[in-house]
Amino acid sequence: MVQVSNADRTILKGGHVVDPVNGVDGSADVLIDGGCVTRVGPNLEVEPGTVVIEVPRGCVVCPGFIDMHVHLREPGHEHKETVATGVAAAVAGGFTAVACMPNTDPVNDDASITRLILGRAAQAGLARVYPVGAVTKGQAGEQLAQIGELRAAGCVAVSDDGRPVANAALMRRALEYAAMFDMPVIDHCEDVSLAGDGVAHEGHRAAVLGLRGLPAAAETIIVERDVILSGLTGSPVHIAHISARGALDAVRAGKHRGIRVSCEVTPHHFTLTDEQLAGYDTNYKMNPPLREAADVEGMLDGLRDGSIDCIATDHAPHHYDEKLVEFDRAPFGIVGLETAVSICLDRLVHAGHVPLSRLVELLAVNPARVLGVPGGALTPGAPADITVLAPDLAVTVEAAAFRSLARNTPFNGWSLRGGVAATMVGGRTVYVNATVAGAAAFDQHLAALG
């Protein structure tokens, strides 16, 4: 568990608070006691002995952001990332919690692996870590993993992410079984026969480049299947990293029918297209692949109209050696924890697609709801997990400065408007951005706590 400070009371004074669950969107103070939020309101009285943090001018205080889809790579691939470096990247990116996928080595299909991950997270003491267990043993898609035991050890959901649950009968049973433990099944939707050995979105760009295609239909067909199976079982299903317009249409239609389907989109799938592939840069290789402009437009529509529930990074660290190979031999995936918030502020909020309160829903409220974990609101009694945004901060992405072990990002060098000022977990400051004027107030907090 994350350490919770027994500090004296702390107050965040003078910030703009955006807390959609409690209907707050304006100037307010946040009082924290014993690691939990105790009061939110304008001009709260400061009792003697309270540590006062003046929120820097222009900064926004939000419930802590939750990235419900990351790969921390430990155990087994510590050369790519460890739990410690992953959570350091998380808090630097404004995330107070992450849910980590089970495709480690060995796979997190066993309580001992779950406990190891949670132990490493407790040692790091930064972001909260919610392990996602495997749906099937070894993620082999043949028999159910011991989902009840994974739940007892601390898993919050199950997924075979990296690959789909290809067998429809097994997916049906997984939905039924996991629901007994109040766990959603998170599916990586890809029809493996249609996807074949594709490496890029099937379309004009990949055709010209001679890259084998991953058709959008391979994604859509499994999303349609999952919506139908969710309807059949009445169990919740969560669609990981949605990218194809048709797949989102399937989710939207399912929601209209009252089916318990939710979905997430990554920042790269609402900002980049397959046109980026021209130079064969493997930092544009991920699965699902970058799709076409119409798909990006579709994702933006879904973010606006509510059919997309969450933004998640699919943070997929790889060593640079692994990416410095022929495009078709490179592993899929890019890192995202330290760029997501800036991209969201710049490309969604400042671009006028969604208001800040909707962004907080996408990054905090809904991930907490889908995973059934605490957070997402600054309700009295809730853990004081807080993300402080500097929405107008000029940010230049510098991969070399990442806390993550990995540098595989297509956003290196991008100039973006908006960033993170500070991150608090359980009332404790875990990250301060020195480039934000006045953010040192959060350092004082650290000092005051001794």
Binding site: A207, V208, G210, D328
Partner: protein, 340 residues
């Protein structure tokens, strides 16, 4: 007359590539203006003028192959590495002959005998070769974009000799030279390309090149072997071979890559030949002076009947002959140019 390897027509024995003492020497063999791009990875790297320059240069290079001593000193002192990660007879031989006729020092590295067999990455192979300061790396590789990776990692100029399903630029250039030689022009001709379009790097390079030179391109093959959006390539697409042959000036057949088929794309070679094989009977719809081209290696009785391959319309061996001249031209224009 072009300079002889023995230097009899050569001013003071100075290698022409140094660009000195060039008076009286045909301009094409002086230091060339070169090409804009450092590398030749795609036909898209070339302007229409550069394509013409390469073809004109290749015309001049052809003469070297007719001499008793088939050699000019143009690339003397330049090192060219032929780095071939895929089996190749024609292309590798063609490049090597081209290099030798230009007096370059050549080195052949093939996968079976290289560190790649020991698990070395392409990046490391290229960086190690680069450390030995070659001037040009000619790369054949099964992965699309392998040349782009190599080019990013070295100062040597990289010539793409075929990268997966992406491109094979020197093949398209030699095809264009062959067409120009036979027809006197490329612009306005109807060129029909028939076969496995989807997996073909020859198709991709040829479409770019033929469009750049103003030919009308018609593509034809089974619906399963089309690219997803043929119209966006600026070409006509049909599944009717009769339509593709009708009034064609040039028919280019593409190899059916037997190893890729797995029974998904068409049911059998027999049925392929029935539907799409180029036969003498089908050829009657074409223009009377049609030429038949094939990049090789041919599958006789699959995409092309033997009597067509060996018949009077076939220019297949001219293509091979032109391959040497085109590769000499490309090597000369890239490696003969001064490094920045």
């Amino acid at each position: 007359m072009l300079p002889r390897a023995d230097g009899t027509r050569h001013d003071a024995g100075i290698p022409l590539t140094e660009g000195r003492g060039s008076s009286g020497v045909p301009p094409v063999f002086g230091t060339p203006a070169g090409l804009r791009a450092k590398d030749l990875l795609s036909i898209g790297d070339l302007s229409a003028d550069e394509i013409q320059l390469i073809l004109d240069t290749a015309e001049a290079m052809k003469e070297v192959g007719t001499r008793t001593i088939k050699k000019v000193p143009t690339l003397r002192g330049k090192t060219v590495v032929n780095l071939f990660f895929e089996a190749s007879t024609r292309t590798r031989a063609s490049f090597e002959i081209a290099e030798k006729r230009l007096s370059a020092d050549t080195l052949n590295v093939t996968t079976a005998a290289s560190s790649v067999a020991k698990g070395e990455t392409l990046a490391d192979t290229v960086r190690n070769l680069e450390a030995m300061a070659p001037d040009v790396i000619v790369l054949r590789h099964a992965s699309a974009g392998a040349g782009h990776l190599a080019a990013r990692l070295c100062r040597a100029r990289v010539i793409n000799a075929g990268d997966g399903m992406h491109e094979h630029p020197t093949q398209a250039l030699l095809d264009a030279l062959t067409i120009r030689q036979r027809k006197g022009k490329v612009k306005g001709l109807q060129v029909s390309i028939i076969g496995d379009l989807l997996h073909s790097r020859v198709l991709r390079s040829n479409v770019l090149l033929l469009r750049a030179l103003g030919a009308e391109v018609c593509t034809c093959g089974p619906a399963t072997l089309m690219l997803p959006d043929m119209a966006r390539l600026g070409v006509r697409a049909t599944t009717s071979i009769d339509e593709a042959v009708e009034d064609a000036d040039v028919i280019m057949l593409l190899r059916i890559q037997l190893e890729r088929m797995r029974g998904y794309f068409f049911p059998s070679l027999r049925e392929y030949f029935q539907q799409f094989g180029m036969t003498a009977a089908r050829l009657r719809r074409a223009k009377p002076d049609v030429i038949i081209m094939h990049p090789g290696p041919m599958n006789r009785g699959v995409e092309i009947a033997s009597d067509v391959a060996d018949g009077p319309y076939s220019v297949i061996l001219e293509q091979v002959a032109n391959g040497v001249a085109v590769r000499m031209a490309v090597l000369y224009l890239l490696a003969g140019a001064r490094h920045e």
